[in-house]
């Protein structure tokens, strides 16, 4: 069984540039999560979907971040105008459903904003 796939693995930007992260979850998993993990901290939830619907995006900086999962499979997280404070690893995870189950994580995208 293929795991969660993320791309790119690394991204380096100047402040003000835009970037998109892509995630392909495990087949059959209806719930998809995006986490932000600053260096030396635990992952912090940004947004999660059940199928194509956003269930909770309360921690997503809505003025610059957006996330979509149009067909309930792959997902894209976009930062419109990156800031140095966005420097972190962005992790995608999927699970069978959102109720107390195991999350399966991708390897993440390491973003550096200069």
């Amino acid at each position: 069984e293929a795991g969660v796939t993320q791309s790119p693995r690394y991204a380096v930007l100047q402040e003000g540039q835009a970037v998109s992260f892509w995630c392909d979850p495990i087949s059959g998993h209806d719930t998809l999560y995006w986490y932000q993990q600053p260096r030396d901290q635990g992952p912090q939830l940004l947004v999660y979907f059940r199928d194509e619907a956003v269930i909770d995006n309360s921690q997503l900086p809505s003025d610059r971040f957006s996330a979509v999962r149009p067909k309930g499979t792959n997902s894209t997280l976009k930062i419109q105008s990156a800031k140095q404070g966005d420097t972190a690893t962005y992790l995608c995870a999927s699970s069978l459903n959102p109720r107390g189950n195991t999350l399966y994580f991708g390897a993440g995208t390491r973003l550096s904003v200069l």
């Binding site: 969660v4 999560y33 030396d40 901290q41 635990g42 992952p43 912090q44 939830l45 999660y48 269930i55 909770d56 992790l91 995870a93 959102p98 109720r99 107390g100 195991t102 999350l103 399966y104 994580f105 991708g106 390897a107 993440g108």
Partner: protein, 109 residues
């Protein structure tokens, strides 16, 4: 915040030693998960423990959960150099899995 300890803690031990990592949480939960994250990888679940279990074992791992003190622990017996990683506990607040600050464990060969 869901967690009592937000910052990454660090432990360094010799291969073969036993180690216990602790976490405490603020909001009631019935499930705690422990994840391990190796360098350059995403977290991977090690063990899931429910409130009616109090203790759960998996190979060299042992997790405990005390809902009265809102704390959990993960023990590793006979550590190996390959156990070097960051270990997180995580719990559900509503339907969202939230992570504690974690412990960076270094096992010296």
């Amino acid at each position: 915040s869901q967690w009592g300890e937000e910052n990454l803690q660090a432990l360094s031990i010799q291969e073969g030693e036993d180690v216990t990592m602790n976490c405490s949480y603020k909001t009631y939960t019935t499930v705690v998960q422990w994840y391990r994250q190796k360098s350059g990888k995403g977290p991977a679940q090690l063990i899931l423990i429910r409130s009616n279990e109090r203790e759960k074992r998996s190979g060299r791992l042992r997790a405990t959960l005390d809902t009265s003190s809102q704390s959990s622990s993960l023990s590793i017996t006979g550590t190996l150099a390959t156990d070097t990683a960051v270990y997180f506990c995580a719990t559900y607040a509503g339907a969202k899995l939230t992570f504690g600050g974690g412990t960076r464990l270094t096992v010296r060969p």
